[in-house]
């Protein structure tokens, strides 16, 4: 199973080998670790959106330990290990409520893949035999409700909708009531895309969160920020603000089936302790995979 998953990721990466040269190629070079080598290493780390400071720090470490030494497997092992250690060993599972519905709140910037990720989650829980309800709290964007409704239909789960322009918090409220009354196991709440700088929209999100907490004890049990892997350094500010407002419990990184590497998660983990829980590797409802940090680092080396 896991093999197939990563195969998909890898083929996505392999196709672009002419566009992007991973970190690994570098270690196959002959010679000594010199400034040119280090500059090249930095470049490849930067290409993965690791950010200037993370890259620079790692390069500095390699310089300190390996300058003028032969390029061997040791250098590669060091880099791999360092990157791997940055990702930590978190509990990446979803916390389920001991009794009553488990509420999962999904938030993120515009177009990051919230609604699609909800379809994927719903599909997964549904297949596990859970009774799933989704709440269409994006009452703002055109056809957002229709989009989620279609996904609900395809995945065979139920949906609570409000009118376009309705107060999203009231939709969340209705969904909670329904989830409790009808004995749903999982309630997944879709929200409108919002940039973390839009304070009124962030306040709206806070309000949704408050309503959830009021209706169902312990809710939301998971507050997930959806991060588009093609995003660059702005991802860190996004994660910081959503965490502040939403007490995010983790990330789903989407669009990893493209050529972007999502390297900003290294800094996000370090700075905010926010783990990646799942990854999106396509537009279909089955294209959701657990986040495997070893494979993620390995993908950088592909």
């Amino acid at each position: 199973m896991l093999g197939a998953i990563w195969q998909k990721l890898k083929t996505g990466l392999a196709r672009t080998r002419d566009l992007f040269t991973g970190v690994a190629g570098l270690f196959r070079l002959k010679g000594r670790v010199d400034e040119a080598f280090l500059a090249e290493l930095e470049k490849r780390l930067l290409s993965a959106d690791m950010g200037a400071l993370v890259s620079r720090d790692l390069v500095a470490q390699v310089r300190q330990s390996f300058l003028d030494r032969e390029i061997t497997g040791d250098v590669e092992a060091h880099v791999r290990q360092h990157l791997r250690s940055l990702l930590g060993d978190d509990d990446r599972s979803f916390h389920l409520a001991e009794s009553g519905p488990t509420v999962i709140l999904i938030a993120g910037v515009n177009g990051s893949g919230k609604t699609t990720s909800i379809a994927k989650l719903a599909n997964r829980f549904h297949k596990e035999g859970k009774k799933v309800l989704v709440a269409a709290c994006d009452t703002f964007r055109a056809a957002a409700v229709e989009q989620l409704a279609l996904w609900a239909q395809r995945t065979g789960v139920e949906i609570v909708k409000g009118q376009t322009g309705a107060d999203p918090a009231s939709v969340a409220h209705d969904a909670c009531v329904k989830a409790q009354a009808r004995g749903f196991d999982i309630l997944i709440v879709d929200t409108a895309g919002r940039l973390h700088t839009q304070t009124h929209l962030m306040r709206e999100l806070e309000k949704i969160q408050r309503i959830l907490a009021k209706q169902i004890p312990g809710a939301p049990h998971e507050a997930i920020m959806i991060l588009d892997a093609t995003n660059g350094q702005n991802a860190i500010a996004q994660a910081q603000e959503f965490q502040k407002v939403n007490n995010s419990t983790g990330l789903i990184v989407t669009k990893l089936d493209g050529t972007a590497k999502g390297g900003s998660v290294f800094a996000i983990k370090q700075k905010l302790q926010l783990p990646v829980k799942l990854i999106g590797v396509g537009e279909g409802m089955d294209d959701l995979e657990p986040f495997d940090p070893d494979a993620f680092v390995a993908a950088l080396f592909e």
Binding site: G113, E146, R154, L195, H196, A235
Partner: protein, 527 residues
């Protein structure tokens, strides 16, 4: 990583427009956020650059030091690392040897050069929409990765077109994403713009089982637009990965079959390093005509725009600055340059620089005016003017601001190179010749050309230009710098400074004066 305001240092004032980087009241300090290893290291790009102390010339060493910090700022703004490196190489070359303008420090001067260079790089602006052809409407196709804002932008473009008196029609060619057609239909309805969609049928897994394909939808959409007498069609396509073979082939097919007048790549401002790869692939598949940068209303610095621009070389046409349909702006390179550099006060710096330049120009003008009055403005002075131009940086924009220099450089030629040739010619003249150019006859022209590696023709041309510059300078001697520039540039456009050998022939009288006639006139003027 972000340069963000340090809470204790001051309060953030509300941003009035997207291009304005948040300003800080109080001590403007930044916290260099991200640094888990560099915990709250505090500094600013400005600070970094100001480390460059001491006055005088910009040297390779002091520039490189300053530019390393600029590089980090560019990377933080998501400019692709390779693009950033190439860009900084060019800036270094430009900056080395420049004399630092008084009252500026070298850091400020470098910042100004950076800013100018960024502005040039991200231009030119072109917010035009394709005109209707003889027998069909203008056609725009939008394309890009998933979730960038294509559908929203399609509707925004329709509104822009409406406001320009055009009659747009939207075509929903995204058969992929659930409710994509419905999304476009609703947006069209809000604008009262017709939308062509052909919903078709889907199975329970979301696979399309009936209805035309995307190519046919586009074709039918254009047919429909003709029937409805619409003069602009905007095709909204499905988001797709640049590495996905089939979807990219679908785009190429649409391109081949309906032949859109313009293909725009829609890219959001949040995009990171990978922007170069996707932009390159879309450009290779379609030959893009423009880029639209969305989600500029957040705090992303939008460095991806620079990457995309470098890879595609097509103009950035519009910026999306919000989810609402009226949130589309024409692109201005100045705003984005300012934002990428993350320097809220760059505009005041630009002002300061032009003020200094104007002052210097004014002093020089006064000096030269005196000379003119005394009849001693010589080729040496002419050369000095050009030397000043070069030192003051970005030759192109500065040329226009110097008396008599408006159109000395033929368009399409590298201004620096042209300046070098002109200086070479002047340097090859004797003292006497420089003081009294009328001495320069055919034989002397030959000698000067040989000495400077130019042609006798060019020497002659230069003398003509000098003659005109001298005339104009006298004419405008009493006016302010601004009036003078205005007068010069409009003169230039009229052909008084037309480049090439026909100088003078398109001028006022249409009569080319002989050297003797010119000498006579000059004597008259001197009196």
């Amino acid at each position: 990583m972000q340069l963000r305001p340090c809470k204790v240092a001051g309060k953030i004032t509300k941003r009035k427009s997207w291009s304005e980087f948040p300003k800080w009241e109080g001590v403007p300090r930044f916290e260099l956020f991200s640094g888990f290893m560099f915990e709250s290291l505090q500094r600013t790009l400005g600070d970094a650059i100001k480390r460059l102390r001491g006055r005088g010339r910009l040297t390779e060493a002091n520039i490189r030091e300053a530019l390393e910090d600029v590089r980090i700022a560019l990377l933080d703004a998501d400019v692709n690392h390779q693009v950033a490196q190439d860009f900084l190489e060019r800036v270094t070359k430009k900056a080395v040897g420049q004399e630092v303008l008084r009252t500026l420090d070298p850091g400020e001067q470098i910042l100004k050069i950076l800013y100018d260079e960024l502005v040039v790089l991200m231009g030119p602006v072109d917010a035009s929409l394709p005109k209707p052809g003889k027998d069909r409407p203008g056609v725009i196709m939008l394309c890009g990765l998933q979730g960038q804002g294509k559908t929203t932008t399609a509707a925004k473009l329709a509104l822009t077109a409406l406001n320009k008196g055009r009659k747009p029609l939207l075509v929903g060619a995204d058969l992929q994403r659930p409710a994509a057609m419905e999304q476009l239909r609703i947006l069209g309805e809000q604008l009262n713009v017709p939308v062509h969609i052909e919903p078709g049928t889907y199975d329970e897994r979301g696979n399309r089982t009936g209805g035309p394909n995307a190519v046919e939808v586009c074709k039918n959409g254009i047919k429909r637009a003709k029937e409805l007498l619409r003069d602009l069609v905007i095709l909204d396509t499905a988001g797709r990965l640049h590495v996905a073979e089939m979807p990219m082939e679908e785009l190429r097919q649409i391109d081949r079959v309906v032949q859109p007048d313009h293909a725009y790549f829609v890219c959001d401002a949040l995009t990171g390093q990978d922007a170069v790869n996707s932009a390159k692939a879309f450009n290779e598949a379609l030959e893009l005509n423009g880029v639209i940068l969305t989600k500029m209303d957040g705090d992303a610095r939008g460095g991806a725009a620079l990457s995309v621009k470098e890879v595609t070389k097509v103009p950035i046409k519009f910026l999306g600055v919000g989810e609402k349909l009226d949130r589309l702006e024409e692109f201005r390179p100045e705003g984005l340059a300012q934002r990428i550099l993350g320097q809220g006060d760059i505009l005041s710096l630009v002002e300061k620089v032009s003020k200094v330049q104007a002052e210097i120009g004014e002093e020089e003008r006064l000096r030269q005016q005196k000379k003119l009055e005394k009849g001693t403005f010589s080729l040496d002075d002419f050369r000095k003017q050009m030397e000043m131009l070069k030192k003051m940086g970005s030759a192109k924009d500065l040329l226009a601001s110097m008396p008599g220099m408006g159109n000395v450089i033929p368009s399409g030629q590298d201004p620096d190179q042209s300046l070098r040739r002109i200086q070479g010619m002047i340097d090859a003249m004797t003292k006497a010749e420089k003081a009294d150019p009328d001495l320069i006859d055919y034989n002397r022209r030959l000698r000067i050309a040989k000495g400077s590696g130019t042609k006798a023709e060019e020497v002659k041309q230069l003398l003509n230009q000098f003659e005109q510059a001298r005339g104009l300078m006298k004419m405008f001697a009493g006016q302010s710098m601004f009036e003078k520039i205005k007068a010069m540039t409009s003169m230039g456009k009229m052909g008084a400074f037309a480049p090439g050998a026909r100088i003078g022939s398109k001028g006022d009288t249409g009569h080319r004066k002989s050297p003797r006639e010119r000498a006579m006139e000059r004597k008259k003027k001197k009196k």
